[in-house]
Symmetry: C2
Subunit: 363 residues, 2 copies
């Protein structure tokens, strides 16, 4: 099976690594001269929305997918007219626009924090009057890892904030009181079959994911899976989708979806019967989905900005290293470490030992 | 780290797949036009013992290894003079000659079946008189998967048997009464550190491995590890080594070693904290070795000669497929399937379901 992927970053790299044992081959479309997925397939070096390059990608593939959201949904829709292309353009268009995304949650009855659409400073002032402070102002499109956001704590922060974020369409999201953040990674096959991995508890530092820990038996598992299935069905989804939530005393509040494999599912490479990467490939290829159970207690730590010595990391008991082969740069995800253990207690000791070695530079 | 591998078959392929997450890159030396490891690195297409090609492989690598025993130990020794090359030529030379290999076992006090060196028909007659029948006559070099062997059951089988196996140096090995066959996969680092995976119980069909099942807690684990360590230390070994044994009521009897990753260790890709492939790479690269514990009950089944439908295999609960991308041919290993389960009982049900799908053509 020939897989075409728009994007050739670490998610594309790990998709290709997962496809090797299935004898899948990969073509990537990416403008970068140092795309870290390139050694794992053939790279078409062109802009993600280059019409001719997209046609070449389509020709080189039996099925096309993408590994990040910067591809134009209309370009994806054109591919989809000629070749199976998953997830569908509709899912991409939805996730690229926070207002459209959250409106979908609301229309499906999925609880979410208070939100308001903000199209100018007057609209922001009205939204703040409605939702109150503190609140977080976000661009509707293209934000990630805490970029394109501003936290509004007091009235002074609101002044000029619309222009500060570029004068582009925004949403205002009210602060909510939550205990922790979780994500569910779910997958839907071409046949409509769905599976979900155990909820991952996610810890962020400076807006960037630091640690994900799968929590089988989490009391909100069924709720999260139900919401993910609703969204996937509404979008005619095929492939892996991540859905992030805030866990409150009253239940889950939806944060956002990512229409792709996701950083909070990297633990599944070693820690689950089938990884998110393999199941994404199985789904888009029309193959049966694999089991998603966690094998043993495990956690994933991101390696950001600077790489610790491989020698030190690999000396940690139960450690598996993923070096993405990317040039280090503050704030850039350049690898991750998965720690496996026989018990939750042992896992915490191993995570603490690993965290002591991290030299992360967050920005 | 740049790894050079002599040979580009499925073992090279799986080594490269294991090296991807560590950001290792691979160059293979193999004459085949359809080498199945080639898509996972760069292939130098030349004979394994081609002097110029071996020099090019050496230039392209920080460390050199091999994935099968057909390389000339002297050529390997020449590489070793310029670059780290592991396992050492001495280990290769030993394993390529059954008489040298078994003499090593005997010299270390490792129990083995009765054997005799056979250099002509008269020598065979004398060996049969000494050891008795039934016995198995084997070429000293280059036999595998039941090839280059003849079982002698009665006097008539002995007549002309020396010429029948090509008139080459042979050994005669007495039949022994054993309960089952096991192998230990062990690994030794550059520092002398050693690890071993749980013993695998191996089931052969027509001389070809059919199933391997790791058996943590096997009563002969310590014995097997001790013997493997003795051999590795005697050979100044670095890398993964497989050691096959017959399990008798009195203990283990040594069968043979393979100075490389081994089919009976493929279960470790999904079933162990660290796979045999990753630990071979860690060992030859001078990195710390990873943990070798089994994660959950699991078993590996070989796919031989013909490939069942991927759709059917992937629909099996707990199944992970490895398609080596090789043209099917009777007797040829073209893939394997690993089955994971929550209990031994569930595993046996899953193996039975998988075996019902196999279309193996053994020869």
């Amino acid at each position: 099976m020939r897989i075409g992927i728009v994007g050739a970053g670490q998610l594309g790299r790990m998709l290709a690594q997962a496809g090797g044992p299935l004898d899948f081959t990969f073509t990537f479309l990416d403008p970068s001269e140092s795309a870290c997925a390139a050694p794992f397939g053939h790279q078409l070096r062109a802009d993600w929305n280059d019409t001719r390059a997209l046609a070449a990608l389509t020709d080189a593939a039996d099925v096309v997918t993408f590994e990040f959201e910067n591809v134009d949904p209309e370009a994806l829709a054109r591919i989809g007219a000629e070749r199976p292309a998953y997830p569908p353009a509709k899912a991409l268009a939805t996730s690229r626009d926070r207002w459209v995304e959250k409106s979908l949650f609301a229309s499906l009855g999925i609880p979410l924090p208070p939100i308001a659409r903000v199209d100018d400073q007057a609209g922001l002032d009205a939204a703040v009057a409605d939702i109150g402070l503190p609140a977080v102002l976000k661009t509707r499109t293209l934000g990630y890892d805490g970029k394109g956001q501003k936290v509004l704590r007091e009235a002074a922060d609101v002044v000029g904030a619309f222009q500060e974020l570029g004068g582009v369409p925004l949403i205002l999201e009210g602060f909510i009181d939550f205990d922790h953040e979780v994500s569910v990674i779910a997958v839907r096959g071409r046949s409509g079959e769905t599976r979900a991995w155990p909820l991952a508890e996610n810890e962020h530092r400076q807006g960037i994911l630091h640690r994900s820990t799968p929590r089988p038996g989490h009391p909100r598992q069924a709720e999260a899976e139900r919401y993910a299935t609703q969204v996937m069905e509404a979008l005619d989804y095929v492939g892996v989708m991540a859905f992030e939530f805030f866990v409150t005393t009253d239940g889950l509040l939806a944060n956002e979806i990512a229409p792709r494999v996701h950083n909070s599912g990297h633990w599944s490479i070693e820690g689950a019967v089938t990884s998110q990467f393999e199941n994404h490939l199985r789904a888009i290829a029309g193959l049966p989905l694999g089991d998603t159970e966690r094998l043993v207690p495990c956690a994933m730590l991101n390696l950001i900005g600077a790489m610790p010595s491989a020698d030190a990391l690999l000396a940690l008991p139960g450690a598996r290293l993923h070096d993405y082969g990317k040039a280090p740069r503050p704030g850039r995800k350049i690898g991750h470490l998965t720690l496996l253990a026989a018990s939750d207690e042992e896992l915490e000791r191993r995570v603490a030992a690993a965290e002591a070695l991290l030299v992360n530079q967050l920005g």
